[in-house]
């Protein structure tokens, strides 16, 4: 018998998709039976009370959670988010119900003993409810009490060599795709770069001094499996400078509808799409029209290729990414809190990815941007909003990057150009006597 009646939540279980309500009810039952004999360190009925407070919130149409708090682990300004229920008498099991963010491993690779270790700690010291993974990528542990936080942190760090993730006005936990560990499209080792950045910027992750949150995400190719271009203040997207490699024999195998060469590597099997048509499915869909297929030969004008990946994705056995690889840096993406949502804008079209010099070319861009944003950013202003407020030109100045054609998003709308003195030969000073020799008053 459930502790609280939950008719509104029960209705959520009736849809065709998996329900978080069912998961929570299952967890409430597991805790009630406690067949594993766990000495729960937070109330055993916490999950039942969580269902109860959620039902009440649906009934009232408003939240019953208080916002934020001073809870945390010693020396860290992030990783723990205080959550308190404003109906503690009705739901004592969730009076304190703090969230802990745990840094996910690069590429989200887990060993089963790691996951068992994590759930063992969390079943003992928390609600047992997890969110794998939160929007930023962290492992989210939902619901524990204040006295348990340091205990959990100790066990994570000492027994599992595992750090907390980012929250608050910090660098957030960097996130990446699988990269070259699994993917033939990877233009750089996103796992290695993400791991380096996480270690290199520990202080920024744990000790808040930014105007607001700041996110890094790493996509090893322009397919963008982690959608870094939309989800991060600084997005690192793999690219290449030379030509797409073409195997003309394999191209013709696709054209001949050879069964061993299914388009899109067979990803759209299961429906009859008709025979493969290279003109309709590849050449005509090229966004810059830089391809043609004539006399059984595919030609690509690489100078006009924007690395959209469509042709490579469609004919992966015939087309491969180039060999001169690196990454592009885009900045300023954000969710729609102020000024609406923004995608990242291209700042660095190509930069080398060199672990031998600690990715110096990349870190120097990052630190110049941070210095500017910390100095000029208003409280709770994201980098993308600062760029909108002060202009992309200012960003180029502070990063020391020259304007390039790739920076132009659309034709100029402002008819005025204001030069600075150092941009004009001879500056503002002039010799009036010399001038009057050639120009009468």
């Amino acid at each position: 018998m459930a502790k609280h009646e939950t008719p509104l939540l029960d209705q959520l279980e009736s849809g065709p998709w998996p329900s978080f309500v069912s998961d929570m009810k299952q967890q409430a039952e597991v805790r009630a039976k406690n067949e594993a004999g766990i000495e729960f360190q937070i109330p055993q009925d916490a999950v039942e009370d969580l269902l109860g407070v959620l039902e009440l919130s649906y009934k009232h149409g408003r939240t019953h959670w208080k916002h934020g708090g001073i809870v945390g682990v010693f020396g860290y300004g992030g990783g723990v988010i205080g959550r308190y229920c404003d109906q503690p008498k009705l739901f004592p099991g969730v009076e304190h119900f703090h969230t802990i963010r745990v840094a996910q491993p690069c590429g989200k690779y887990y060993k089963t003993d790691y996951l068992r270790g994590l759930t063992k700690i969390w079943d003992l010291r928390g609600s047992g409810i997890t969110n794998m993974h939160g929007a930023t990528g962290d492992i989210i542990l939902l619901g524990t009490t204040t006295p348990q936080i340091e205990e959990i942190f100790y066990e994570l760090t000492h027994n599992m060599n595992q750090d907390l993730g980012g929250s608050g006005s910090n660098l957030r936990t960097p996130a990446d795709c699988l990269g070259s560990s699994r993917c033939e499209y990877a233009c750089y080792d996103s796992n290695a770069l993400c791991h380096f950045m996480t270690n290199n910027y520990q202080d920024e992750l744990h000790r808040p001094a930014f105007p607001y949150k700041f996110k890094f995400k790493f996509d090893a190719c322009p397919n963008g499996c982690v959608a870094s271009i939309a989800r991060s203040d600084m997005s690192f997207i793999g690219t290449w400078r030379d030509a797409i490699k073409i195997d003309q024999d394999a191209v013709n195998k696709y054209v001949e509808n050879n069964a061993a060469y299914p388009p899109n590597a067979g990803a759209h099997k299961g429906k009859d799409w008709g025979p493969f048509n290279i003109e309709k499915e590849v050449v005509e869909l090229c966004p810059t029209k830089c391809m043609k297929f004539e006399n059984k030969t595919l030609k690509i004008d690489n100078s006009n290729c924007t690395r959209c990946m469509h042709c490579i994705n469609t004919m992966p056995r015939a087309l491969k990414i180039g060999d001169d690889r690196g990454l592009s840096i885009l900045v300023g993406a954000k969710a729609p809190i102020v000024d609406g949502a923004q995608m990242g804008s291209l700042l660095v079209p190509f930069v080398e990815v060199n672990p031998d010099n600690d990715y110096e070319a990349i870190t120097s861009v990052i630190e110049n941007i941070w210095d500017w944003w910390m100095e000029e950013g208003k409280n709770r202003e994201r980098l993308g909003e600062l760029i909108m407020r002060q202009g992309f030109q200012k960003l180029l100045e502070v990063t020391g990057i020259d304007a390039q054609p790739q920076h132009v998003a659309y034709p100029r709308t402002n008819p005025y150009i204001f030069w600075k003195e150092d941009e004009v030969t001879g500056g503002w000073e002039r010799d009036v006597v010399e001038y009057r020799k050639h120009h009468l008053r």
Partner: protein
């Protein structure tokens, strides 16, 4: 680094005085408020000192989850009264 910021004792006192003076109107401060106390210093240097004051127990963090603020330890809203007027 300015003379004030490099002298830990004086810097601590300046921070405590600044926050105490404003205590009637607010108990939590954004990081860049510290720039008013140390106007000649770089924010990265200020960060080191301010965060060491948290470690020393002079200041404490307050976080909404998305934004972090600083307050004198024990001042303003504490655990169970979070969210109350």
């Amino acid at each position: 680094m300015s003379e004030l910021l490099s002298n830990k004792e004086a810097a601590t006192q300046a921070v405590v005085d600044f926050m105490t003076k404003k205590a009637k109107t607010k108990s939590k401060f954004y990081f860049n408020d510290f720039q008013d106390i140390f106007p000649d210093d770089k924010l990265r240097d200020i960060k080191k000192v301010v965060n060491s004051l948290v470690t020393d127990g002079v200041l404490e963090y307050w976080s909404s989850g998305s934004t972090t603020m600083y307050g004198l330890k024990g001042s303003g809203k504490q655990h169970s009264s979070e969210g109350e007027a």
